[in-house]
């Protein structure tokens, strides 16, 4: 079965991409991904904060003690923390690129206007074949309107696009009021692809310590549904490529992603849990399903259930909400899974 896919203008051997994760930190793992059959690898993100705030940190805890005491002008050998931190990222991009023959997608994460966008060019120079710009953003400012947030994101996309010649994908969070319209604007600003969605790590509360606790839960297949709906709603209606991120755990998830119109699907949790063997397993499941359902090519499959093509568009819209609620019945034997066992 020919699984070859075009995404952001890149020729991929199949539609399964390794999403942004810590995996590229380890060249052995990177090679494992390629050998396992992955079509492209996304770097972990270089954060805006790394670029702008590391200095503050290093100055406060290293620089502040320099030139303060007769016996010691400093307390560390001359290693420039920040400079090395950024260079290390760029070096890693170069190392990963050299280690693989499949495309490498750089990742830059930021939400403020500023000079940090220049790093887009440096990532390109380091060898990335495309760039994923992650607009991970939590709207906490009580004075900032939705329109201002959208405007800012569009400005950032324009600014980044101006600095690179490689294709640009924009990774979004689901919390935009008018996502289709916003997606269209991003498209106009130069995005070659949209990646839906970022996963927000929701903090939990530690009731013993009375404090907020950062948590990191890997994704579940159930999270895929949010992505499926919005990809379905956008597919065919905007010019850019679409990629699913979050909740892709097996071949069936991949099938669903393609059905709603995604060019590619990104896997992270599955790879972190099961390692590179998961890749072939997922692709085998895809092929097996396609053969079973007699799909001859990905093109035949892709977008068959998007908003334009699905036989029941209401299922993607508000009516679905009513339907789901009506179908809900309390389960008599339900037990709180968190309750202690008797």
């Amino acid at each position: 079965m020919d699984l070859s896919t075009k995404y952001l203008g890149l020729e991929l051997k199949n539609p399964l991409i390794a999403g942004a994760s810590p995996l590229p930190d380890d060249l052995d793992k990177v090679r494992g991904l390629e050998d396992g059959g992955i079509a492209a690898i996304t770097m972990y993100s270089l954060f805006e904060e790394q670029i702008t705030q590391n200095l503050v940190g290093s100055e406060a805890h290293i620089g502040a003690y320099e030139n303060s005491f007769s016996e010691a002008a400093s307390y560390f050998p001359e290693v420039d923390l920040l400079e090395r931190g950024l260079e290390a990222y760029l070096e890693q991009v170069a190392l990963v690129k050299a280690a693989i023959s499949i495309p490498l997608i750089g990742s830059l994460n930021g939400t403020h206007d500023g000079e940090w966008v220049n790093y887009a060019r440096l990532i390109e120079e380091a060898g990335a074949d495309a760039l994923e710009l992650n607009l991970y953003f939590l709207a906490t400012d009580i004075e900032m309107s939705a329109a201002e947030i959208e405007d800012r994101c569009v400005r950032i996309v324009e600014a980044v696009k101006k600095r690179i010649t490689i294709p640009l994908a924009v990774k979004l969070s689901p919390f935009f009021t008018a996502l289709p319209h916003f997606a269209k604007r991003l498209c106009g600003a130069g995005a070659d692809g949209l990646v839906l969605f970022n996963r927000f790590y929701q903090p939990d509360i530690d009731t013993d310590e009375i404090e907020i606790k950062a948590t990191l839960d890997l994704s579940h297949s159930t999270e895929l549904r949010l992505r499926l709906r919005w990809i379905a709603l956008l597919s065919g209606r905007i010019e850019t490529d679409l990629s699913v991120s979050g909740g892709v755990h097996n071949g069936h998830d991949l099938v669903k992603s393609l059905m709603v119109g995604a060019q590619t699907a990104q896997m992270v949790s599955g790879l972190l849990h099961n390692g590179s063997p998961k890749i072939q397993q997922t692709l085998d499941e895809l092929v097996h399903w396609m053969e079973e359902k007699e799909y001859a090519s990905l093109e035949e499959l892709r977008g068959c259930l998007n908003f334009l093509h699905c036989p029941d568009p209401e299922a993607l819209e508000r009516a679905n909400y009513m339907r789901v609620l009506k179908s809900f019945r309390p389960v008599a034997s339900f037990k709180n899974p968190g309750a202690p066992r008797q």
């Binding site: 670029i51 200095l55 100055e59 007769s70 016996e71 307390y75 923390l81």
Partner: protein, 1190 residues
């Protein structure tokens, strides 16, 4: 030959650059002020920089300077071109090998930043005591006077040693030259190559020890031949001056810079001559030139080659018109006829006359004087005082200059107002805080002007003795001609005060020249600022006709997004006002420098700095200085009126930076100082201080325990004690049922707190409705200062609970009075909480031997010291001997205590018939294992003393002298890991093996903290440190396990932040263990690179990840049939990186070399896992008879 590059360098870097490129093997060990040379060589080697033969020199660290010398001896014998850097006590440790190296005619050059030797006190500062102690070793001693000279003579020394086979000690003045930044012409590789002849290197190899043509060295010689064989080396010394002179001549041809062994500078027909060595020679030369321009006939003879002295050249350099000579030595040799250089000059002249080198008619008066000891500034005024003294018909034969000696009357009078500096030199003095970046910015300014323009520049920086809130004073000179002036600026055309509060603490404007400029960083507007200045400042501004500028730098910094860093802003102001460069050019240069410094860190940072520069010019305002003083207040007194007389007369003067004015009679002649002086120095360095919320507090005392400065205290007391309390004094019911009807208070010392917030971090109690708040919370200091000062004063007079009734646990230990308070340790220091606790546990009967290092600096660095005494006048008896000998020093204390105790007991038994028998019996058999027992014994001794007085016999009097030794004393030997793991390890091991009742406390920061973060054998795998710039590849030495091997040593490994109960128990158990004990205490440190407010949390992580397992090994348990080793922490449950990722020392390696970081990270994890498994096996319960084993 390519053009030499002009650079702004200090001598340490300039010398290291030559030594590195001319060496193959470099053995190092840190010691101030030479550490910079070793550090930079290590960095170059780590970065793969090559020497002139395209090899990367092998740079390796030893455990002590003694070790360095031994390693070098081996390396030299084996034919490698080797070098090292050292100073002071370090140099003394090398002396035994120096005799060997010289005795074997081994070509070798070492570089010494000359520093004082510890005598009545330690001094890290410069003089020639150390090099003068080497003059008999057989090394050639070559002195440099300036930064340029230090670089140039370094090369000449390397070349000359290879040619002559005589080893060289090349030296220059510690700090004054080693740390002065000046404009120099650097030496390109080709020039070094041209100076070092391949044939000389071939001879080194040929003379080396090798099994390919074996020889034997280090034989033992008998009376028949030793003497003759020793004399066989004479020709090499006889010819050495020729070799050095030839090298200097060759160097002169290559560079145009000409040096001579003995250089005369001054009038051709000089009548008064000063002979001197080192940087002071430049001061004298400048002064002589100034005086000669006024018609005087003066001159200076600069001594460069001091050993061997070349009589012929020396006397040839003397102007024959000289009538009087003053020879200056920067060292002191008590009891000698004179100091070494003086004696040599007198002898030389006499010898020259006797041998006809000088005519019989040449018989000048020669007098000898001391100057500049411990970096005492040596100024033109002092040089003039010497020339003036030489004008007198009968000058003092021996004198000192630069101090007022009102005891032996040796000092010369000095005209303080004498100033020779020329107008073309712009002189600027900056007062700043260590943390505000002032020195860094000034180093930058000096570089800009020196390297980017044709101007010359000089920078020298003075720091105070504190590690937190340190004040820095920068002295900068700029001008069109080369700048020598190796002394501090007196009349500055520009004075800047970067912190407004200094105006109420120091006489900042004493540096200002008339008509100069004063720049102040002030939050007030030009209209309001005048009224905020104390009377003294207003008056000086008017009297000296100063122009007055202000800027609100913190606001500009904040608005430009630079946080609290005001360095770029103040630097811009300097350029804008001083006129040292045209304003636009200056701004452009600053921006270039910013680009250079921050360019790679990201355009964002550059942009922020640019914005700050641009906003600075708009924010800089000139203030019109009124014609009259109108201030409503004066500078407050330096210390409280309640302070003791000595503190008022002496300490207060030092606190004002005016200690130079104190006369000799102000000091005790034996180095003894009163304790408890830190309490009089109210530093007010915290912007925020912790305030207690009694409603939330659970009364655990953890905040009190964690406070590094004893600035938070708690007490419980009867309600009546609250009579007269300030209205705002906080007090709640004490919630301990053994103490009903008591009240409880936690109080901060608002002026002593450093604002580190460790107390808040460790507070376990949260405000239930607002968990952001705890039972102790940081609040702005200024608005609550008066109230909290009143509260603290009241708190201090509350009655102390009876020690004998307090339990030995975490909480109640903190109710015992700390006898270590308000030290100058870093804010958030991880060492001091342990020391404070030790003084709480046994401070009133405590002997402390303290190894040199951080703990001796914050423990004993003047002006004020933190160890204090209780209301009975008892407190820790603290002393510092050296770095390397501390364990032995403490052992000596123990032996002396035991001996005096034995004497007392024997005398007591002998006097039994004349004393109350029951008292004698009780005294001899007292149980002193707890506080009650101690108190009872003290009470018995108190009864014994009058009885002995009454007897009055010689034995009774003798017993009286030692009667206090009938009360048990606890001897503690304290130091850091550099001492315990490295330089002092032999002593530690020996003392542990002695079986004597001493306690060793290792404050383990896993790095040499005091000298600036060099690796020790305690540094863990994967940490970056100086001397381990590529990450430490091997694991930390297991000192505890080594100690356990003896079987009778109590050993504990503790981390207060992880398990304070275990820490407290370990201290008590160690103290009570009748033999030796060792406590290894995890101490977080600024050299770990993170916010120390999280220090205790990092301690917890160190334990939970297993990198710092907690245990106690108590030999007493073995006697009870149990395994003496008990693990006090659980199996690691978190991966090591959860701990290491929080600290820059580990993170830096990740950024520098990710692959190596990963490799070392895995090794470190493996090391941790395997060691924990080993401990588990070692701590397994003993299998009792009859129990099955599996």
């Amino acid at each position: 030959m390519k053009n030499p590059k002009i650079k702004m360098n200090d001598a340490n870097e300039a010398v290291a650059s030559v030594a590195y490129r001319a060496s193959e093997v470099i053995a190092i060990y840190p010691i101030t002020p030479s550490s910079g040379m070793a550090e930079i060589c290590d960095e170059w080697a780590a970065a793969g920089r090559e020497n002139i033969w395209s090899d990367v020199p092998e740079v390796f660290q030893l455990q002590s300077e003694g070790g360095v010398a031994g390693a070098l001896h081996g390396s030299l014998q084996t034919g490698a071109l080797s070098t090292t850097f050292t100073a002071s006590q370090g140099l003394l440790l090398m002396i035994p090998n120096m005799y060997k190296i010289a005795g074997e005619l081994t070509p070798f050059c070492m570089h010494v930043s000359a520093r004082a030797l510890a005598t009545h006190a330690l001094s890290i500062f410069g003089d020639h005591s150390d090099v003068m102690a080497c003059r008999q070793t057989g090394f050639a001693l070559l002195a440099s006077n300036t930064v340029q000279e230090a670089q140039d003579l370094a090369l000449i020394a390397h070349a000359a040693t290879l040619k002559s086979r005589v080893p060289f000690l090349h030296f220059f003045d510690g700090f004054r030259t080693s740390h002065e930044i000046n404009k120099i012409e650097t030496l390109p590789d080709e020039l070094i190559e041209a100076m070092i002849e391949p044939g000389d290197i071939a001879r080194v190899r040929a003379n080396s020890l090798t099994p390919d043509r074996p020889t034997i060295r280090g034989t033992a010689q008998n009376p028949d031949v030793f003497f003759q064989a020793r004399e066989a080396a004479n020709p090499f010394y006889d010819g050495l001056a020729d070799v050095v002179e030839a090298a200097m001549a060759k160097f002169g041809e290559l560079t145009g810079r000409r040096y001579s062994l003995y250089e005369y500078e001054g009038s051709e027909d000089a009548e008064q001559l000063v002979v001197i060595m080192g940087s002071g020679a430049e001061t004298v030369a400048e002064t002589a030139a100034y005086l000669n321009a006024q018609g005087r006939k003066t001159g200076v003879l600069k001594i460069r080659l001091f050993r061997p002295i070349d009589l012929k050249r020396l006397v040839a350099a003397l102007p024959k018109t000289v009538r009087k000579i003053a020879v200056l030595d920067r060292c002191k040799e008590p009891g000698a006829l004179g100091e070494p250089l003086f004696l040599d000059i007198v002898t030389s002249i006499e010898e020259a006359r006797q041998t006809g080198l000088l005519p019989d008619s040449f018989c000048p008066t020669v007098i000898g004087g001391r100057y500049g000891l411990g970096s005492k500034d040596f100024t033109p005024a002092m040089a003039k005082a010497i020339y003036d003294a030489l004008l007198e018909p009968k000058p003092k034969r021996r004198f000192t200059v630069g101090i007022t000696d009102d005891v032996t009357g040796l000092s010369l009078p000095v005209d303080e107002h004498f100033d020779i500096e020329v107008k073309s030199v712009i002189r600027a003095v900056f007062y700043g805080l260590g943390s505000d970046g002032t020195v860094g910015a000034n180093k930058n300014s000096v570089k800009i002007i020196g390297e980017e323009t044709t101007n010359f520049a000089q920078g020298y920086f003075v720091y105070d003795s504190k590690k937190s809130g340190a004040v820095t004073i920068s002295h900068l000179r700029f001008g069109p001609d080369p700048i020598r002036a190796p002394y501090l600026i007196k009349n500055a055309s520009f004075v800047a005060c970067h912190q407004a509060q200094f105006l109420e603490q120091y006489d900042v404007l004493e540096y200002a020249a008339e008509g100069g400029v004063f720049l102040l960083n002030s939050i007030y507007s030009p209209e309001r600022v005048w009224s905020q200045l104390p009377k003294e400042v207003q008056s000086t501004l008017i009297e000296k006709k100063l122009r007055f500028f202000i800027i609100d730098a913190y606001t500009v910094a904040r608005e430009a997004g630079m946080g609290g860093r005001i360095n770029t802003i103040m630097q811009t102001c300097f350029f804008a006002i001083s006129g040292v460069l045209p304003k636009d050019e200056a701004i452009a240069k600053i921006k270039e420098a910013i680009e250079k410094t921050y360019g790679k860190k990201g355009p964002e940072i550059v942009q922020k700095n640019f914005e700050a520069v641009d906003q600075t010019l708009a924010a800089l305002k000139e203030v019109v200085v009124p014609a009259t003083v109108s201030a409503g207040f004066s500078m407050p007194p330096v210390v409280s009126a309640q302070a003791p007389d000595y503190v008022q007369r002496v300490t207060a003067v030092m606190l004002q930076n005016k200690g130079d004015h104190l006369p000799v009679s102000a000091f005790r002649p034996d180095g003894v100082w009163d304790v408890g002086t830190s309490k009089w120095e109210k530093r007010n360095i915290a912007q925020e201080i912790p305030i207690w919320d009694p409603s939330v507090c659970i009364q655990c005392n953890k905040c009190v325990q964690a406070c590094p400065h004893a600035a938070i205290r708690s007490n419980f007391y009867s309600p009546e004690s609250l009579d007269g309390a300030p209205d705002c004094f906080r007090s709640v019911d004490f919630r301990v049922k053994d103490y009903p009807d008591k009240r409880f208070t936690i109080q901060v010392a608002p002026e002593d707190c450093t604002g580190c917030s460790l107390c808040v971090a460790v507070c376990p109690a949260k405000n239930k409705s607002n968990p952001r708040e705890k039972a102790i919370n940081m609040r702005m200091q200024a608005p609550i200062l008066d109230a909290e000062r009143a509260n603290y004063d009241f708190f201090l007079q509350l009655p102390q609970p009876d020690r004998a009734t307090l339990k030995d646990d975490v909480k109640f230990t903190q109710f015992k009075e700390p006898l270590f308070e308000y030290s100058g340790a870093c804010a958030g220091c991880g060492e001091t909480p342990y020391l404070k606790m030790l003084t709480q546990i046994c401070g009133d009967r405590l002997f402390m031997a303290n190894a040199t290092g951080c703990s001796s600096i914050y423990g004993g660095n003047l002006p004020t010291t933190p160890y204090t005494c209780n209301s009975d006048g008892r407190g820790p008896a603290w002393a510092n001997s050296l770095f390397e000998d501390n364990a032995e020093f403490g052992l000596g204390m123990r032996v002396a205590v035991d001996q005096q105790n034995a004497i007392a007991k024997r005398m007591l038994a002998g006097l039994r018939a004349e004393l109350d028998d029951a008292l004698v019996e009780a005294l001899l058999n007292a149980d002193q294992t707890d506080e009650a027992g101690i108190a009872a014994q003290r009470e018995r001794v108190a009864r014994l003393k009058p009885a002995l007085e009454k007897i009055g016999s010689p034995p009774a009097k003798r017993l009286l002298d030692v009667a206090d030794y009938l009360v048990d004393k606890s001897v503690w030997i304290i130091g850091g890991d550099g001492w315990a793991y490295d330089i002092g390890f032999g002593g530690v091991d020996h003392v542990l093996a002695s079986g004597r009742n001493v306690n060793i406390l290792v404050l383990d920061t896993e790095v040499y903290s005091n000298t600036g973060g060099q690796a020790s054998k305690s540094t863990p795998i994967g940490a970056i440190a100086k001397f381990a710039a590529s990450g430490k590849p091997v694991g930390k030495k297991d000192l505890g396990l080594i100690a356990m091997n003896y079987g009778n040593v109590y050993v504990a490994r503790v981390a207060m932040g992880a398990k304070d109960t275990q820490t407290v128990n370990a201290f008590y158990e160690a103290m009570r263990h009748p033999g030796p004990s060792l406590i290894i205490a995890y101490s977080h440190c600024i050299a770990h690179g993170y916010n120390l407010a999280a220090g205790m949390e990092q301690q917890r992580l160190a334990v939970s990840t297993g990198t710092w397992p907690l245990y106690r090994y108590d030999p007493a348990r073995h006697a009870e049939g149990e395994n003496p080793l008990r693990l006090d922490s659980r199996k690691p449950k978190e991966p090591l990186y959860t701990y290491t990722d929080n600290e820059a020392r580990f993170r830096m390696l990740k950024m520098k070399d990710a692959a190596r970081a990963k490799e070392l990270g895995q090794l470190a994890q493996q090391f941790v896992d395997e060691r924990f498994a080993l401990y588990e096996r070692l701590a397994a319960p003993y299998v009792k008879d009859g129990e099955a084993s599996n």
